[in-house]
Subunit: 186 residues, 2 copies
């Protein structure tokens, strides 16, 4: 979905607002495997994914841990770095070719100031991040690896075809071997 259609689905986009959006965002195409943000850099942008698939990951004792996926019609950013202006602990990688819309932090602030209705975007973003994290936290504490896998497949049935087992396993908080065994029996 285009960023514009997405916006129109959550707020009323006046002509002025539409124009402001065109001025304050720019589109970006990235190839498979390309990094958008590296650990240690500041992440000053939000990306809206028009098409393709991104993942955020970080290193934990030499191992890559996938922290999130963002597919078409979702926002992606290193949330903590974006809100605090601190260098990011994570990488953002395109695991499919992507069509993105980039919105810099400063421009988002301009939008808030001129078009109060856009505050809703910020709110939705914060909520989405918080809720996503909370869900994963509870999942880690209270569900088995198999249940987490089943839930993920229910919400994102295509993910298995689009991301590697290793990415999905670390996202679920288990090893690749365990995920492979979970899939085998059933």
């Amino acid at each position: 979905m285009s960023f514009h259609s997405y916006l129109a689905s959550i707020i009323t986009v006046s002509d002025e607002l539409q124009e402001a959006f065109y001025k304050l965002t720019h589109t970006k195409e990235v190839k498979k495997g390309q990094l958008l943000v590296r650990s240690g850099e500041r992440c000053n942008d939000i990306y809206f994914v028009e098409s393709g698939l991104l993942r955020g990951y970080y290193y934990q004792e030499e191992k890559e841990i996938t922290h999130w996926f963002a597919r078409e019609d979702e926002f992606a950013t290193c949330f903590y770095s974006f809100i605090t202006h601190v260098p990011s602990a994570e990488f953002i990688e395109a695991i499919e070719p992507c069509q993105l819309v980039q919105l810099p932090h400063a421009n988002l602030q301009k939008l808030y100031a001129s078009f109060p209705e856009t505050e809703r975007i910020g709110r939705l973003l914060t909520e989405a991040y918080y809720v996503r994290l909370e869900g994963r936290f509870l999942g880690l504490q209270f569900t088995t690896a198999k249940e987490r896998y089943d839930n993920l497949m229910k919400d994102h049935p295509q993910l298995l075809r689009r991301a590697s087992l290793g990415h999905i396993a670390s996202y679920l908080g288990i090893t690749q071997e365990t995920l492979s065994r979970i899939r085998a029996r059933q």
Copy 2:
């Protein structure tokens, strides 16, 4: 610490702002064991803890799971309910007698509108919640029960005297028995 001193330590409090605060907040005293919010109710207030200790908890398969503690000089609310206006999934209980300052959501919005510098409060709150959750998420995934316990004791050495083992164990994501054994050996 009084709410006023706390505020003065993070933002400059003009006379007008101080007056607005007096109008828009009110103090509240609660006894040990008293509930501030019940699951199913909306949580429309933030509490600043001037003295005492609160905990947030919810039920997971009949068991109480402590989600957070808030001691003096900290804010407490059912964060998700507060930002989304959805009924709370959690309870807030005073586990010590508390002196609180209550700030309703609507009044916080008024403050934001009239005193832009107060936006910092909202930002700090969001960040604090997000960071706290992220820390616990990573802890659950990558550290042993003992490490989590040691970290908690480093940050809150008094907590063991102020909260029960059961509360602390569920906060750490382990059973009471395991926490008891962890403490025994060392």
